[in-house]
């Protein structure tokens, strides 16, 4: 019983990383019908930005900001930096290629992914780096016999808070309705007075920014980061996007959490070596029985 609760908690934690990354895939796909393959590497970039700030600024962080302030600042810096990089990628790798159609844009996205990954390797080195314990101490709690890391709880709460805010903006405000409308029918959206460039700006800044925050969270949680980790997280998050229904924002959140929990339970009760098999098996089953994903069902349209 204790084990299962701990594992579900661990699953939700990594699931929330997947969810935060998946949101970027889903928002961009929804509006642009483009799979931003560079998104996983933007997440890595955010992680390294946070790392640089915390490690290079260790003295400053420990003396003035404190542990919590340091983590918050690292997340803000990663969010801003990754958001800006997201906009740059859109401008350079995608915007000139939109008129050529969707397939060339996908190839360009793969190119951007490889470019960013290698740039990270050149800048920070090929060896994994670590979020050191002098800036990120351990706080193990003992709650009713459960061993829980306080940082894990904070990561979970913060992820849920961010997802809640995004959910509110996208589902409950007129600006969010404009994002959903642009995804449905861009031309008619323009007839409503919606400036599509504003929407593109928003999704290409906010999606990567959330990915950047997830990058710092991964650093805080696992401590070790590497320049290739964007591939694995990106793939899992993309799977989460499909699982929830691509283009569907609540779907991306739920898909990520489900995936994380499945992965954790699978590796605990079946085999660590087979955890990915388990995850992708579920994906295949969902796609067979619900090809549009868990929440991706279309409303019947009467004409």
């Amino acid at each position: 019983m204790k084990l299962i609760i701990e594992q579900i908690l661990n699953g939700l934690t990594i699931g929330s990383f997947y969810s935060l990354i998946a949101l970027g895939y889903s928002m961009v796909y929804g509006v642009m019908k483009l799979i931003n393959f560079a998104h996983g590497d933007l997440f890595t970039f955010g992680s390294y930005l946070g790392y640089t700030f915390l490690v290079m600024g260790t003295a400053y962080v420990t003396s003035t900001l404190g542990v919590w302030g340091g983590m918050a600042a690292a997340m803000l810096i990663a969010a801003a930096g990754t958001g800006i990089l997201g906009l740059i990628v859109e401008r350079i790798a995608y915007r000139p290629i939109y008129p050529a159609g969707r397939l060339p844009a996908v190839v360009s996205a793969l190119g951007a992914s490889i470019f960013i990954q290698n740039a990270i390797m050149v800048i920070w080195g090929a060896r994994p780096q670590a979020y050191t314990s002098d800036v990120i101490p351990n706080y193990m709690l003992n709650i009713a016999g459960l061993r829980i890391n306080l940082l894990q709880i904070i990561i979970l709460l913060l992820s849920f808070l961010l997802m809640g805010i995004l959910y509110y903006v996208v589902q409950k405000t007129t600006f969010g309705a404009a994002i959903r409308a642009s995804a449905l029918d861009r031309e008619t959206a323009a007839l409503m007075g919606i400036n599509i460039n504003l929407i593109i700006f928003f999704i290409f800044a906010l999606g990567p920014a959330l990915g950047g925050v997830a990058g710092v969270m991964v650093g805080i949680y696992y401590r070790k980061i590497s320049f290739v980790m964007g591939w694995n997280y990106g793939l899992k998050a993309f799977t989460a996007t499909i699982l929830g229904g691509i283009g569907n924002i609540p779907g991306a959140m739920i898909g990520g959490l489900i995936l994380g929990v499945l992965e954790m339970l699978g590796s605990t009760y079946i085999s660590t070596a087979y955890k990915d098999v388990f995850v992708f098996l579920v994906l295949i089953l969902v796609l067979i029985f619900r090809p549009t994903g868990l929440l991706g069902e279309k409303v019947a349209e009467k004409v």
């Binding site: 959903r180 449905l184 031309e187 008619t188 323009a190 409503m192 007075g193 919606i194 409303v299 009467k302």
Partner: protein, 244 residues
Amino acid sequence: MEALLKIDHLHIYYGSIQALKGISLEVTPGEIVCVLGANGAGKSTLLRAISGLLPISKGDILFCAKSLKKTEAYRIVIDGISHVPEGRRVFSTLSVEENLNLGAFNRRGNPQLVSERKDRVYNLFPILKQREKQLAGTLSGGEQQMLAIGRGLMSDPRLLLLDEPSLGLAPILVKQIFRIIKEINEQGVAILLVEQNARKALAIAHRGYVLETGNITISGLSKELQNNKKVQEAYLGGAALRRK
């Protein structure tokens, strides 16, 4: 009176195909002007050019004496032209209310104004009030058309472009839609109406133009068009009229 909308020798191309071949027309404030024509005559092209969805190859479109040639579609709405597209194009997975809110997108900072305008739309189309929380895709064809028109009114336009508002609707609904179009006009909104249902369109319009394969061939007051032999034969079912 000074023209609200003035189209001056407008040429529009789709790739190498010329859809409009130098047409000129005008809408003055408070008018209903209809454009008649067969399928493929260029009626929708005309509206799409006015609202900025198509680039202008030659000629010009002036709104309140200001050229729209370089203005992007989303700006044209803010300037005061609202386009209700053919086939309604409501946002099907958004609620009725969200669809209406988007019609006033650039006024989203002023919820009170938006809700006043929504009330005006609900007065015009009470059924939409009942359907407020429903997804637009679940509405009937007639209700979707009402929503499309209502959404178009949310920007408080000075000129409303209506593209085939009666398309695919039952006769009783067509009658209702045309009555409401007239009512909207009486509230001071100029209307440029593109319609296949020439009889109904001429009944409410002040003036009309006939568009044939990219050229305006006939124009005049509605009464003149109704009595024009060519218009009767081609668009009003001439034989039937003569029998009467």
